[in-house]
C-alpha cells in the first residue's frame, strides 16, 4: 500500500525543499518584567532535493540548523516558510502518514523503552508500524545479526552502553522498512569498532534496500565512508552541495608532493603554481592545487633532478572544512 503511493509521489526527488525557513522566537528576560524578543533564523531559505536511494551527508558547524532541518523533515516542527515534501507528503500536515515511511535516529535520544528489555521495544515497533509478522521476523533477524544484538535483546535498555544502545536504536528505526532514514549524529560517542559496525550496516541497508539516507554528523569519516554527496550548511543556508572531493576545490585546498632526491639540493624549480614549501636534507615538500594532476609535476621534476622516491599526500578534509567554517563565521 505504501509502495503504491510512493511510486506516484516519488519520481526523481524524494525529499524536496524549496526556500524552507524556520524562525524561532526567543524571549529573554532582560530585567524585572522586561522581556526582549529576538528572532533566530535557524533555517534560512534552504532549497535542495534528494533522490530515492541516495545517501547524503549533511554537515555544518554547531547551530548551523541541521537538527532543525531534520525535525521539519519528520513533521515535528512546522516550517515558518517555504515548501517541503517527503515522498510527496507535507510532513507537518500528515505526520502520522509520513511516520510509516520514515525511520529516525537522534543520536542523543532514544526511542527504546528505558526500563524494559530491548526486545520489548521491538515488539512494540512491530505493533506500532503494523509490520507483517514474517517481515518483522526477517528484519529483526537481520538487524540482530549485522548489529550484533543477540546478547542484548533481554537486557533492559538502561543497562546498555551508549554504543549498544545506539545500535539498538538504529535497528528500531529500520524494522518497518522505511523508505528514508534520517540519522542525526548516529555515531556520536561511539568507539572505533562500534562506528565501523554502524557504518557497514548503513552501507548495506542503502545498497540492498535502496533506503534513502540523510546523515548528520561531526565525524567526517562517516561521510567519507558512506556518502557520495555532501551538503554543507551554515547559518541555515546551503554553502556547498556536491561530492565530498569537490569540497577541496571550494576550499581551495592543496595536495602535497614529497620527493626524495639523491642528495641535498637547493629547492627544485617546479612549474607554477606548484612550489616548494619545505626542505629537509634530500627531502623536499611541494604544494600544488588539489584539482591539478600530480603526473605532470612528477615528470617535470624527474626530467631535471635525480629522483629517488616520491609520495603524494591528500589534503586533510577536516582541515578543509574547518577552514570553510571559519571563513563563513568571519564573513
Amino acid at each position: 500500500m505504501t509502495d503504491g503511493d510512493g511510486a506516484a509521489a516519488g519520481g526523481a526527488a524524494f525529499i524536496e525543499l524549496d526556500g524552507v525557513e524556520k524562525v524561532f522566537d526567543v524571549r529573554r528576560k532582560t530585567g524585572f518584567l522586561k522581556r526582549e524578543r529576538r528572532e533566530v533564523r535557524a533555517v534560512d531559505g534552504l532549497s535542495f532535493t534528494v533522490a530515492r536511494g541516495e545517501m547524503v551527508g549533511y554537515i555544518g558547524p554547531n547551530g548551523a540548523g541541521k537538527s532543525t532541518t531534520i525535525k521539519m523533515l519528520t513533521g515535528i516542527l512546522t516550517p515558518s516558510g517555504g515548501r517541503l515534501r517527503v515522498a510527496g507528503i507535507d510532513p507537518s500536515r500528515e505526520r502520522t502518514r509520513l511516520a510509516h515511511r520514515i525511520g529516525v535516529v537522534f543520536g542523543q535520544r532514544t526511542t527504546l523503552w528505558w526500563d524494559l528489555p530491548l526486545i520489548d521495544s521491538y515488539r512494540l515497533m512491530h505493533r506500532m508500524y503494523r509490520i507483517p509478522d514474517a517481515r518483522y521476523r526477517e528484519n529483526l533477524d537481520r538487524c540482530v545479526e549485522l548489529l550484533q544484538l543477540a546478547e542484548l535483546l533481554e537486557v533492559p535498555v538502561r543497562q546498555l552502553s551508549l554504543g549498544q544502545r545506539m545500535r539498538g536504536d538504529i535497528a528500531a528505526a529500520l524494522l518497518h522498512d522505511p523508505d528514508v532514514l534520517y540519522l542525526d549524529e548516529p555515531t556520536i560517542g561511539l568507539d572505533v569498532v562500534s562506528k565501523a559496525k554502524v557504518r557497514g550496516f548503513l552501507r548495506d541497508v542503502n545498497a540492498e534496500r535502496g533506503t534513502t539516507v540523510l546523515l548528520t554528523t561531526h565525524d567526517l569519516q562517516d561521510i567519507e565512508q558512506l556518502c557520495s554527496r555532501v551538503m554543507v550548511i551554515d547559518h541555515g543556508r546551503l554553502m556547498y552541495d556536491g561530492p565530498l572531493a569537490g569540497l577541496h576545490e571550494v576550499g581551495e585546498s592543496e595536495r602535497t608532493l614529497v620527493v626524495d632526491l639523491e642528495r641535498e639540493l637547493p629547492p627544485v624549480e617546479a612549474p607554477a603554481p606548484a612550489r616548494v614549501v619545505r626542505v629537509e636534507g634530500p627531502r623536499q615538500w611541494l604544494a600544488f592545487p588539489a584539482s591539478a594532476s600530480a603526473a605532470g609535476l612528477v615528470a617535470a621534476i624527474a626530467a631535471r633532478y635525480p629522483l629517488v622516491d616520491l609520495s603524494v599526500r591528500e589534503p586533510d578534509i577536516e582541515a578543509v572544512i574547518a577552514k570553510m567554517y571559519a571563513e563563513r563565521a568571519s564573513a
Binding site: G75, I76, R95, A99, V104, F106, R109, L124, M128, P156
Partner: protein, 268 residues
C-alpha cells in the same frame, strides 16, 4: 481505531505494567508508606468519629473502610503524584518528546495506555496489601455480594480515566512553562484535598462541600468509595465520572493539538 491499534495500546499498557513491576524495592517501600499513612489516618478518624458519630453520614466502620480504600487507590490513581506526568513533563522539557511525535501513534492514547498499565500494577502491587491489612485489623464495612465489588471496579476504572485526563493536562502545561513542577505540585495538593484523600467529601459543610463534590477529583476516591459502601447510586456515580472523563480527555486532545502545532520541540 482498528484491531491493530488496539493491540498496540494493549502492548503499551502491558509495558507500563511491567516497567513498574521491575522496581520491587520501590513497591515494597510504597506498601509500607501506605500502611503507615493508613494507620495515622485511621486513628485520627476513630478519634473524630468517637466525638462526632455519623459524621458526614458514615458510621465508624465506614469511615475506617474509607481510609483503607484511599490508601489502596492513592498510588494507582497517582493522586499525590507518581503517575506518568513527571515523565511526560521531563520529556517535553528535554525535547525527548520529539521521539514520541514522529511515531505513528496517538500521543494521548499512548500515555493513557501506559498510565493504565501503571495504575493496574499499583492497584495490585501497592493497594491490595494495605487494604487487606486494614480490613483484618480494624472494623470495616465491606459488601458481601460479588456484584457490589464488580460495580466498585467499574468506578475505579472510570476513576483511572479521570485521574489520567487531569494529569495529562497538567503535564502538557510544560509545553508553555518549560518547568511544570509548580503546576504539578499544585495539582497534587488539589488532588489530595478535593478527592477526599484527607477527609471524605461528604464531611465538608455548606458551599465548600457542594463545590468539591462536583469537581472532577471527587470521581477519584469519593465516587468509588460511595459505590463500595453503598452510599450512592452506582449509575449516578458512573455518569458523573464518565462525563468528567469525556470532557477532560477532549480538552486534553485540544490542548495537545495546539501544543504540538504551535510549540517548539526543545533541543538539538
Amino acid at each position: 481505531m482498528g484491531v491493530g491499534s488496539g493491540r498496540l495500546y494493549a502492548a503499551v499498557a502491558a509495558g507500563g505494567f511491567r516497567r513498574y513491576a521491575t522496581y520491587r524495592a520501590a513497591t515494597a517501600a510504597g506498601v509500607f508508606t501506605n500502611t503507615v499513612f493508613g494507620l495515622i489516618l485511621v486513628y485520627t478518624y476513630l478519634a473524630l468519629w468517637e466525638e462526632r458519630p455519623h459524621l458526614g453520614g458514615y458510621d465508624q466502620a465506614q469511615a475506617v473502610t474509607f481510609v483503607w480504600l484511599g490508601q489502596a487507590l492513592l498510588a494507582a490513581l497517582a493522586i499525590g503524584g507518581g503517575g506518568m506526568e513527571n515523565e511526560l513533563m521531563e520529556r517535553i522539557r528535554t525535547g525527548d518528546i520529539a521521539v514520541d511525535l514522529y511515531r505513528p501513534a496517538d500521543l494521548q492514547l499512548w500515555w493513557l495506555a501506559a498510565d493504565v498499565g501503571r495504575a493496574v500494577f499499583q492497584l495490585l502491587g501497592r493497594g491490595v496489601v494495605p487494604f487487606v491489612f486494614g480490613a483484618l485489623l480494624f472494623p470495616v464495612a465491606l459488601p458481601r455480594e460479588v456484584s457490589a465489588w464488580a460495580l466498585f471496579l467499574v468506578a475505579v476504572a472510570l476513576a483511572m480515566l479521570v485521574g489520567f485526563a487531569l494529569r495529562y493536562l497538567v503535564a502538557l502545561s510544560a509545553f508553555w512553562l518549560m518547568d511544570g513542577t509548580g503546576v504539578a505540585h499544585m495539582a497534587w495538593i488539589a488532588g489530595l484535598f478535593c478527592s477526599g484523600m484527607l477527609l471524605p467529601l461528604n464531611v465538608f459543610p455548606g458551599a465548600l462541600g457542594e463545590v468539591v463534590r462536583v469537581l472532577p477529583w471527587s470521581s477519584l476516591l469519593q465516587g468509588p468509595a460511595d459505590v463500595l459502601l453503598g452510599e450512592a447510586d452506582p449509575v449516578g456515580v458512573f455518569v458523573f465520572q464518565a462525563s468528567w472523563a469525556v470532557a477532560l480527555l477532549a480538552l486534553g486532545r485540544l490542548v495537545q493539538s495546539v501544543a504540538t502545532r504551535r510549540v517548539v520541540v526543545q533541543g538539538g
